[in-house]
């Protein structure tokens, strides 16, 4: 008897409970959704200026743009799509700032503001290495280029949206990889690269001139 009752309850409850659907109005197939409605990051710009003169260096801002986000057409650097070289002088200090944009919106939506606002969930990494010290610093391998985080989140961990670049000549003249990665680490940010997932990853190059 119990079984009968339970079956009745199960079947009965389902018959009425499960019918919630939102079939309302499916659009006509002839009229597909034109663009992504969700947010995408289309553009990364790195502004670099001399800390003493305050002048933007040659080529700044350094831009990577993928106009339609992931998939679709491939993205590329501007103006030279293949790669972007940042040329720095030796024994100089620069101030740098990263701007992320969603240019599918008009006007373009600044994503970097959101990154800073949600600083406890985000962190930029340079060459994927874990920064050390206070404030956070990273040495780019072999190049003699030192990156210092200039901004802090609410937990006093670096974000890296604003940073200082200092050069003191070791291997001048040759090009070094300069990979900038934005990690999204909700609830897991601890100053290391490992947790979370990648939102942005762009491979620039750095060359230090005498």
């Amino acid at each position: 008897m119990k079984a009968k009752l339970m079956t009745l309850v199960a079947v009965g409850a389902l018959a009425f409970a499960a019918c919630k659907k939102d079939k309302k109005e499916d659009p006509a197939p002839t009229n597909p959704a034109p663009t992504n409605t969700a947010e995408v990051i289309t553009t990364m710009k790195i502004y670099i200026k001399d800390s003493i003169t305050g002048n933007q260096i040659t080529g700044s801002p350094f831009i990577f743009k993928d106009a339609d986000g992931d998939g679709g057409s491939a993205g590329g650097f501007l103006p030279n799509a293949a790669d972007s070289l940042i040329t720095l002088n030796d024994t100089t200090t620069y101030l740098a700032e990263i701007i992320l944009l969603d240019e599918t919106k008009t006007p373009a939506d600044s994503i970097s503001n959101e990154v800073v606002t949600e600083g406890q969930e985000h962190m930029f990494f340079f060459e994927q290495s874990n920064p050390t010290g206070t404030p956070y610093t990273t040495m780019l391998t072999g190049s003699g280029v030192k990156i210092t985080y200039l901004d802090l989140d609410a937990n006093s961990r670096g974000i890296g949206q604003q940073f200082k670049i200092r050069t003191y000549g070791s291997t001048t003249g040759s090009q070094h990889p300069f990979r900038v990665t934005l990690r999204h680490q909700p609830g897991a940010k601890n100053g290391t690269f490992a947790p979370g997932e990648t939102d942005v990853e762009i491979k620039f190059k750095v060359k230090v001139d005498l």
Binding site: M6, T7, V11, L14, A18, E39, D102, Q128, H184, E197
Partner: protein
């Protein structure tokens, strides 16, 4: 062997001969009730002595050396329902049988479930024990009971069946006679079906295009509910299942009845609720791997002598959490996920909460089926169906500018509506010919609301087929031909310009089948067929990033139809102690559509991603499946089941990607004798070994295929007699040694180990609300 049996029989006869008079004869004649024609090749079996013989051309049979006593005589003839009678023998006896050969005198439901019209392909009915053992798991898990069937998994809760290494569009699923139409193209899109609805699950291996539609290159999966009741009673059953891994619970009920006063009407209601939480690998829980499912269906049938109509409605609602560790940002993340031996930040305590990322799926089916007898031996069926499928997928994260974002809105949202109509006319034996003729039409519309992955489309398909079979006692020959046309009108944007390509496909499918039955114990099923499939929209137009696999997939609108020439043969042997089925097959593809890795990665703001292009090649997939069950000691059975498969890319002289590796399963079953209280009691222990798939194409994967592994399982069940019902109880376990492993055909193998021990408890309670007979 034969000698032993003969000696045994001789001794048996001798032994009996001493005991009593055993020289009586039972003779008789079997005729068609409708036209009085003698029925040859009818099996006449005597249950008590386990003996059977055949009627001759005159419909006559003779059984000698019978002792005095009561016997149960069973008459089996193709196209007729089995008939049993009791005969008391005290002298030479003659009995004549008149069989209602064209079936129309029997309950109409028998015709719907026509037992005789089996395809010439190997058809494997999944055993009830296998279905029971998979209760509460996925539909594909139940199918694994058949040799040659594997699954393509996305974790433990999303599972797609694979027949001989082929899946997706190449397999048709017939849910209650209707071809399931959802978003089959996605590897993480499981069939939207409640397995509890089906009482019988069977797999047709090999090209079944002629009968079921041009896509069924690899085979078909048939799910059929019980026939509606035809006696005045209300009965039902309740299934309660608990699974230890994921702490899942399933409650599924079914009730059916018919009316004494309004003859011919019958009804059924059925419903299932399932909830499960985070699954556990041997070492850790997997964050966000729960599932919630609510399904129900109604059936109403009306049957008179010459007509029948059935209305069916079902709804499937499922919310599946997708393991959050499998949602990654870019290729670097994927590589680091693979480098670390457990997921980085996706370990969590047990929870039933379903968070992002997740899938929400709804499938609705309305069907009406009508049949009428168009003569003594022929029937016409008309089936119309409407299916509506919503698939919503939610990304792991809401966008950073979340203020303007509606979190209830899915990031991917597809709605597909399919309307089908099928007409089939079939006739029973006319001069040993039996056949089916039919036509079908489908109109299908797909729209997307979220992000682009596949386009909007309108798909119109029609086809017509004819099958005739020449049936003799020891052999059957079949020829089937089908013609299909498909019109595909798609709509999508490319660089903000609306594209509306129109494609037309047409071709012929042919099947020749041969069944050879040299003895009643040994049957051969051989088929040669030509099948084809039009490319699907994703193969033509998909263009997007898959977060689960960190790859960009690109369709190619120049892709042509895929053609397959296949040969499949099965030898099936069955006697009292041995049951063996061995299948060998070879499928040669012209223009096999597959995903090929590109040479240059594509640069995006998230880094470089490998690009996979849909391409065509000539391919050869061959293999052998086997299942052998031997009762080597009384009540003790050993079963060996396994498969070998080789998938070759002939054009590029390489292996094909995503092919199942060779595997073998050995199980030992002990069946207890039925007692008054306990029936059908058995205990099974099984050991499965899956080899490493090293036959993979060059540069197609980020990580080497996982190592070989073994799984140990068990199953114990009984039926307890309570009053006049049989209460079913069972307990089974999978991966009971808590083995740590990863499987090549699990898309989550990059991120995590597969799940650990899972113990299933199941209870089946049949009941009668009202029965006129009581």
């Amino acid at each position: 062997m034969r000698k032993i049996i003969q000696t045994f029989l001789f001794l048996f006869v001798l032994a009996n001969g001493f005991a009593q008079e055993c020289n009586y004869k039972l003779t008789g004649k079997i005729t068609d009730k409708d036209n009085g024609e003698p029925l040859e090749f009818t099996i006449v079996s005597v249950k008590e002595i386990n003996f059977s013989t055949n009627s001759n051309e005159e419909g006559e049979f003779k059984i000698e050396n019978l002792c005095a006593g009561d016997y149960t005589i069973r008459i089996i003839h193709l196209g007729c329902a089995d008939t049993s009678i009791k005969v008391s023998i005290a002298k030479d006896t003659k009995v004549n049988f008149k069989l209602p050969h064209s079936l129309h005198e029997l309950a109409d439901v028998e015709i719907v479930e026509r037992v005789d019209y089996k395809p010439t392909q190997t058809i494997d009915n999944i055993k009830q024990e296998e279905i029971d053992k998979a209760k509460g798991k996925t539909l594909a898990d139940a199918l694994k009971g058949s040799a040659g069937i594997t699954t393509l998994n996305t974790g433990a809760s999303i599972s797609k069946p694979m027949i001989h290494g082929l899946q997706g569009y190449r397999i048709l699923i017939l849910n209650n006679g209707i071809r399931q139409e959802g978003q089959q193209w996605g590897n993480e899109h499981a069939p939207e079906i409640d397995p509890f609805m089906a009482k019988k699950i069977s797999v047709v291996k090999g090209a079944s295009s002629v009968r079921y539609g041009s896509d069924a290159i690899a085979g078909a999966i048939l799910l059929e509910p019980d026939a509606l009741p035809d006696t005045a009673a209300i009965t039902g059953e309740l299934n309660a299942i608990g699974l230890s891994n994921g702490r899942a619970g399933v409650l599924s009920g079914i009730m059916q009845g018919s009316f004494e006063k309004v003859k011919g009407f019958a009804w059924r209601v059925q419903g299932t609720i399932k909830q499960g939480g985070n699954m556990k690998t041997p070492e850790y829980y997997l964050k966000n791997t729960g599932v919630l499912e609510k399904n129900f269906s109604y059936t109403l049938g009306y049957h008179r002598k010459k007509i029948g109509i059935e209305l069916f409605y079902s709804q499937f609602n499922s919310t599946i959490a997708v393991f959050s560790g499998a949602h990654i940002g870019n290729l670097t993340d994927l590589q680091s996920a693979f480098a670390s031996n457990k997921p980085q930040d996706s370990l969590a305590p047990f929870s039933y909460t379903i968070g992002r990322p997740k899938q929400e799926i709804e499938h609705e089916l309305v069907k009406s089926k009508f049949h009428v007898h168009t003569g003594m031996r022929s029937r016409l069926y008309v089936t119309a169906a409407y299916q509506y499928n919503i698939r919503k997928e939610f990304d792991k994260h809401i966008p950073k500018n979340s203020s303007s974002y509606d979190t209830t809105k899915a990031d991917l949202d597809y709605r597909i509506t399919s309307k089908t109509i099928d007409v089939a006319w079939e006739h029973d034996n006319i001069n040993s010919f039996r056949g089916t003729y039919g036509a079908s039409y489908m109109n299908q519309t797909n729209v997307y609301l979220g992000r682009y992955l596949i386009p909007n489309f309108i798909n119109n398909t029609w086809g017509a087929f004819a099958i005739e079979r020449y049936v003799k006692h020891t052999y059957e020959l079949e020829l089937g031909v089908r013609y299909d046309e498909k019109y595909l009108q798609s709509y999508y944007y490319n660089k903000n310009i609306l594209q509306s390509p129109f494609l037309k496909f047409k071709n012929v499918s042919v099947n020749t089948g041969w069944i050879y039955k040299p003895t009643h114990q040994l049957h051969f099923y051989t088929n040669l067929s030509k099948a084809w499939r039009a490319p699907a929209v994703n193969e033509l137009y998909s263009n997007g990033l898959h977060h689960g696999s960190a790859s960009i997939e690109k369709g190619d609108e120049k892709i042509k139809q895929e053609r397959c020439y296949s040969f499949i043969t099965t030898g099936s042997f069955k006697n009292k102690r041995i049951e063996a089925d061995i299948t060998a097959y070879s499928n040669y593809f012209k223009g096999f559509i597959y995903l090929s890795p590109g040479t240059e990665p594509e640069l995006t703001i998230k880094g470089a991603f490998p690009v996979f292009y849909y391409k065509q090649t000539d391919a050869l997939i061959s293999g052998i499946d086997y299942k052998i069950n031997v009762e080597f000691v009384k009540n003790t059975f050993v079963q060996v089941k396994g498969m070998f498969l080789r998938g070759q890319d002939l054009t590029n002289k390489d292996w094909l990607v995503w092919m199942p590796s060779d595997r073998v399963e050995v199980s030992l079953t002990y069946k207890l004798k039925d007692t008054k209280r306990f029936k059908k009691t058995y205990a099974t222990a099984s050991f499965e070994y899956i080899t490493k798939q090293w036959r993979i194409p060059q540069n197609s994967d980020y990580a080497a295929p996982p190592n070989p592994y073994y799984l140990v399982g068990f199953d114990i069940a009984t039926k307890i007699q309570v009053k006049n019902q049989e209460l079913g109880i069972g307990i089974s376990g999978s991966n009971v040694t808590n083995k740590i492993y990863r499987d090549y055909l699990d898309r989550f193998r990059y991120y995590t180990n597969a799940v650990g021990t899972n113990i299933q408890f199941r209870l089946n309670i049949p009941f009668t609300v009202f029965d006129k007979k009581e």
